[in-house]
């Protein structure tokens, strides 16, 4: 006990002394440091720029390929298309088997995002505001579903959805993707909700708001960025998943990622077409990130700040 007191005493005495000693010598260094952190120096862009170049190179290569003819792709290595062609894109936009793949993917991803957020909102509220029987276990159990490898579930899912006659429907894929998106949405939303002071709820109840009205009118606008971020993650993980989506569909709800395997034919690989299809899968994701960029830029710590 006395030891602890001594230590506290020491550090209290020492800190100002040390700070004073350093102040003269390293004041400039600290100022420079602060400048770098706050205002950004001339070279702030180097690290992000290098990273972005690393990220963009493979994507550029894909875009580059999508505008080439197959002869050019396989014969020589060219840094840009020498004979640019739109043939690959034309095929995708005119063949229903191709473009319906995009529509299918977007349909089930949107259904999944809506379902995931809708059920996760009340659950996240319960976890952030109340203690109840088995809450901690339940929370971890939910997370465990995020940990289930899709490879494990592919076959049982197929049998389950066959039993309900849901194979090859958008809703089947949307429900199956809830397996990993709902736990994640609950987790993220819970973090955002914990950052909202509880007094807000109490004040609203005193003012005569009912729970649903309070939740929709007051609480949801306060965690709007949380909903945005959670929706972004749901969209992302559903959009990129292939194994389950492919297992549960045959033709009517087949995702674009599965349609892409069509490019392998007897005459060899249609690289250009494959690249064009790949480029088009980037667009929905890019749009979604464009909509949520402000929520991320605003920052969130997921919890009490």
């Amino acid at each position: 006990m006395s030891g602890a007191n001594e230590r506290i005493g020491e550090s209290q005495v020492e800190a100002p002394v040390a700070a004073g000693k350093q102040a003269g010598a390293s004041q400039d260094a600290i100022a420079r440091l602060m400048h770098r952190r706050g205002e950004e120096s001339k070279w702030w862009w180097v690290v992000p720029a290098l990273y972005i170049v690393f990220l963009m190179l493979p994507i550029y290569w894909l875009i580059n390929m999508s505008f080439k003819t197959n002869t050019e792709i396989v014969s020589t290595l060219t840094l840009y298309p020498h004979e640019p062609t739109l043939r690959n894109y034309r095929i995708i936009f005119t063949d229903a088997a191709w473009y319906s793949g995009y529509i299918n993917s977007i349909t089930y991803v949107l259904i999944n995002t809506v379902i995931s957020i809708a059920v996760a909102l009340p659950a996240a509220y319960a976890f952030s505001r109340y203690r109840f029987l088995g809450d901690k276990h339940l929370f971890f159990w939910l997370l465990t579903n995020r940990m289930a490898p899709p490879a494990v579930f592919a076959l049982p899912f197929f049998q389950l959805y066959s039993a309900f006659g849901l194979i090859d429907t958008h809703i089947a894929v949307a429900l199956a993707h809830c397996l990993f998106n709902v736990p994640l949405a609950v987790w993220i939303l819970e973090g955002f909700m914990s950052g909202v002071p509880k007094e807000i709820d109490e004040t609203a109840y005193i003012d005569g708001y009912s729970f649903p009205r309070f939740f929709v009118k007051i609480f949801m606008p306060m965690i709007a960025s949380g909903i945005g971020v959670a929706a972004f993650f749901c969209f992302m993980f559903s959009w990129v998943e292939l194994l389950i989506a492919r297992t549960l569909t045959t033709t009517d709800a087949k995702p674009i990622a599965a349609v892409m395997t069509r490019t392998v034919s007897a005459s060899g690989m249609d690289w250009g077409l494959l690249a064009a299809a790949g480029v088009l899968t980037l667009i929905p994701g890019a749009l979604v990130i464009w909509f949520v960029r402000n929520y991320i830029a605003k920052g969130f710590a997921l919890g009490r700040v």
């Binding site: 706050g38 950004e40 390929m65 109340y130 076959l155 959009w239």
Partner: protein, 288 residues
Amino acid sequence: MERTWNNKAWFLVLPVLVLVAFSAVIPLMTVVNYSVQDTFGNNQFFWAGTEWFEELLASDRFWQAMGRNMAFSFIILAIEVPLGIFIALNMPKKGWGVPVCLVLMALPLLIPWNVVGTIWQVFGRNDIGLLGYTVNALGFDYNYVQDPFDAWVTVIVMDVWHWTSLVVLLCYAGLVSIPDAFYQAAKIDGASRWSVFRYIQLPKMQRVLLIAVLLRFMDSFMIYTEPFVVTGGGPGNSTTFLSIDLVKMALGQFDLGPAAAMSLVYFLIILLLSWVFYTVMTNYDAER
């Protein structure tokens, strides 16, 4: 935050429970069911007890795939987490750079996984890929189709390319949420760059970092599509991860019993490791 004891909160959790029970518990029961039975076709099943589990735990193939998975998860976590934090620390906090960085960096995250595989499969090829061609032109003998080491490098670089941005985005969001007052206080105390990071930025990033680390661990341990597209598990078995083996067994050969037993063991291991991560990181939170 002080939370009140109220068992009615169960009603709020009920929808999630019903949904997840439908999409997780029922399929899991099917898996358990298969794991203890044998079949000779015609939908006739026989009780097999723990036979599949014993066979699995005794097989080298399983432990090798497990070892590969462990090594892979460890390597990519060791690269992506520090790198992600480093990039997040160096990102602009305001101005036109913010949306540009966010949108471009998030792009790889939103590419369907088999497209990611395709991109790297092409990019790494010696004949038509920029990376493979350049590396070979520089005098390195690089061929991911034949050399196991090159295949590993390709798969790891691909994963770093694909997922570091997740760590960056989450850490960046955590960093931006730190009020300026914290930095000003640190400035007055004459804190070094390192102590600002260690005592202000890292603790504030902790929750988002927990999500990032857990997500990266789980997803890297479950990785299937990307290495499957790039290397198909080869050369030899050098990049055959557990899920590749599992899909081969369950959907390829229809060995339902062994596949189900493997699923369960696989799942339990992820569960155990994630639980360790989760408890360690949240206990640390509680102590502070």
